[in-house]
C-alpha cells in the first residue's frame, strides 16, 4: 500500500524525491553503459568501449550518493511502512545497478581485446541474449518506479528463458572453442560476455523482487528454494 498524500514534513518528501531521482538517473547511466558496451562489441567501436570504462565511476558515485541519502533519510525522518520500504529498496536497487554497470565494464574490456583482433563472425550471436537481458532490466526498473509487483514478480519466470538462451550460446561457443583455430580467444571472450549478460538478467530479477517488496511488502526471494526445502522436510 502506498499513499500519494504528501508528508506533513515537506523536507521528508524532498528527501524521497531526491532518492528516487538519483536511482532513476543511475539506472539510465547503467543501461547506457550496457548498451554502449554491446554496441562497442557489435560495431567494433573502440570509443564506445572506452567510454563505458571511463563512465563507470559515475555509476559508482551514484551508488554512494544513494546510500548517503538513504542513510540520512533513515536517520532524520525514521520512515515506516511503505516509506521505509522505499528507502531500503532504493539502496538495494542501487547496489544491483552498480553490479550491472560492472558487468558492462567487463563486456567493454572483453570487446576492447576482441577489437584488436580480426572480426569474429559469431559476435552477433550474443545480440538476442543482450536484447532479452536489457528488456529484463527495463521491466525491473519499471516495476520499481511504478511500484508494480506483478511486473516485478514476472521477471523470475522470464529469467528462465534467458538462462536457456545463455546455455545454448555457451554450448555453441564451447564447441567452437574445442575446434581450436584462430578464433579460440574470441570464443573465450564471448563465453564471458554471455555469462555477464546472464548475470545481468539475475540482477534484474533481484530488482524485480525488490519492487515486489516495495509494492506489497512480500519477500519473494528464494521462495522456490524455501518451498523445495519444506517439501523435502514434509517427505
Amino acid at each position: 500500500m502506498h499513499s500519494d498524500t504528501p508528508h506533513i514534513l515537506r523536507e521528508f518528501d524532498k528527501a524521497f524525491a531526491s532518492l528516487r531521482n538519483e536511482v532513476i538517473t543511475m539506472a539510465g547511466q547503467a543501461r547506457l553503459n550496457l548498451e554502449r558496451a554491446i554496441h562497442g562489441l557489435l560495431e567494433r567501436d573502440l570509443e564506445k568501449c572506452k567510454a563505458v570504462v571511463a563512465d563507470d565511476d559515475e555509476v559508482d558515485d551514484a551508488e554512494l550518493r544513494i546510500d548517503r541519502i538513504g542513510m540520512e533519510t533513515l536517520v532524520r525522518f525514521h520512515p515506516v511502512a511503505s516509506d521505509l520500504r522505499q528507502v531500503i529498496t532504493s539502496m538495494k536497487v542501487a547496489a544491483n545497478l552498480e553490479r550491472i554497470s560492472d558487468h558492462a565494464v567487463n563486456i567493454a574490456k572483453r570487446a576492447r581485446k576482441m577489437l584488436s583482433r580480426p572480426e569474429c563472425p559469431e559476435v552477433p550471436f550474443i545480440e538476442p541474449l543482450y536484447a532479452l537481458a536489457d528488456q529484463q532490466v527495463r521491466d525491473a526498473l519499471s516495476a520499481y518506479t511504478d511500484r508494480n509487483s506483478e511486473l516485478g514478480q514476472s521477471l523470475q519466470l522470464r529469467d528462465k528463458e534467458l538462462d536457456k538462451m545463455h546455455k545454448r550460446l555457451i554450448a555453441t561457443f564451447s564447441a567452437r572453442l574445442e575446434e581450436g583455430g584462430a578464433g579460440t580467444e574470441d570464443f573465450l571472450h564471448l563465453i564471458f560476455v554471455s555469462r555477464s549478460l546472464e548475470r545481468i538478467g539475475d540482477l534484474a530479477v533481484n530488482i524485480g523482487e525488490d519492487a515486489v517488496f516495495l509494492d506489497s511488502a512480500r519477500d519473494i526471494r528464494h521462495e522456490k528454494h524455501r518451498a523445495s526445502v519444506a517439501e523435502g522436510a514434509a517427505e
Binding site: M1, S3, H7, I8, L9, F12, V80, A81
Partner: protein
C-alpha cells in the same frame, strides 16, 4: 479428538461494540477490540480520537465526569462486565491501576507513596508493607537510588524518578492491568527510555495499555497497536505489522506522517 494446539487465550480486556458519549457528543463509536494478557498494547491516533477516553473506561474513572456515559456495548475484564451494578469500583481500580501523563506523587515520603495503596486496602502489617515497598521500588529500578532516603519527600526526586515512583505505587496493590496515559510525554529522552525499559520488564507480570503520541515509543515497546480516528478503531494488530505494512490506508498515512 485430541488437539495439540493450545486453547485460544482469553483476552484480559474484551471490548465489544463500545459506544461512549460526553453528553450529546458521541466520542467512541462501536469499538470492538480484544486486549491480550501480559502484553503491551499501544493506543495511537490524533488528539481527540478517543484513545484516552477508552483507556479511562477500563477503570471507570470517566464515571466522575458529569454527562459522560457508556451508551452501548460492553467491556469485560477477565470475563466480567465492568458495568455490572454490583461491581465494587474499589476492587476494579485495584485490579486496574493507572499512571498519568504528569507524575503525581502524593505530598508524602517516598516510602508512604508506595505504601499508600496497601494501607488504603487494609494492610496493617508493617513487615508486609515494608517488604512490598522494597519489592515495588526494586521492580521500577528505584530502590538503589532511594533506599537511604525513604522518609524523604517524593518531590525531591527527578521527574523520571517521580514517574517511576508512581508506577511503583500502582503495582504495590498487585493490579492485573496497568493503564498509562502518555506516561513519558513530559520526560527527557533518557528518562523516557528508562520507563520504556521498565514497561518491557513489567509486561511479564502485567497487562499494559499505553496511550501515546510518540509513535517511535509505540513501535519500540508495544506488542500490539491500535489506531483510532474520530472515535473509531481503524486498525489493530501486531505493532510490526501496523508500522511496516498496515491494511488500512488511513493507518499508513498516520504512521508515515502523511495524515490530514
Amino acid at each position: 479428538m485430541v488437539s495439540d494446539s493450545p486453547a485460544p487465550a482469553v483476552p484480559e480486556i474484551a471490548i465489544d461494540q463500545l459506544c461512549f458519549s460526553y453528553g450529546a457528543k458521541q466520542v467512541l463509536h462501536e469499538v470492538t477490540l480484544d486486549i491480550p494478557s501480559r502484553e503491551i498494547t499501544a493506543f495511537i491516533g490524533p488528539s481527540g480520537c478517543g484513545k484516552s477516553t477508552l483507556l479511562r473506561c477500563f477503570n471507570r474513572i470517566n464515571d466522575r465526569i458529569p454527562g459522560a456515559k457508556v451508551t452501548g456495548g460492553a467491556i469485560r475484564i477477565a470475563g466480567i462486565d465492568i458495568a455490572r451494578p454490583d461491581l465494587d469500583l474499589q476492587v476494579l481500580r485495584r485490579r486496574v491501576g493507572m499512571v498519568f501523563q504528569k507524575w503525581n506523587p502524593f505530598p508524602k515520603s517516598i516510602f508512604d507513596n508506595v505504601a499508600y495503596g496497601l494501607r488504603v486496602h487494609g494492610e496493617k502489617n508493617t513487615k508486609v508493607i515494608g517488604e512490598r515497598v522494597e519489592y515495588c521500588l526494586r521492580r521500577v529500578a528505584l530502590w538503589d537510588d532511594v533506599k537511604d532516603r525513604l522518609k524523604a519527600s517524593a518531590f525531591g526526586l527527578s521527574g523520571g524518578q517521580q514517574q517511576r515512583l508512581c508506577i511503583a505505587r500502582t503495582i504495590a496493590t498487585k493490579p492485573d492491568i496497568i493503564l498509562m496515559d502518555e506516561p513519558c510525554s513530559a520526560l527527557d529522552p533518557l528518562s523516557t527510555l528508562k520507563i520504556e525499559e521498565l514497561l518491557l520488564e513489567l509486561k511479564n507480570d502485567y497487562t499494559i495499555v499505553i496511550v501515546t503520541h510518540n509513535l517511535a515509543q509505540a513501535n519500540r515497546c508495544a506488542d500490539k497497536t491500535a489506531f483510532f480516528y474520530l472515535g473509531k478503531l481503524i486498525e489493530h494488530g501486531p505493532t510490526v505489522k501496523i508500522f511496516s505494512n498496515p491494511d488500512v490506508q488511513q493507518t499508513e498515512s498516520y504512521v508515515s506522517g502523511a495524515f490530514g
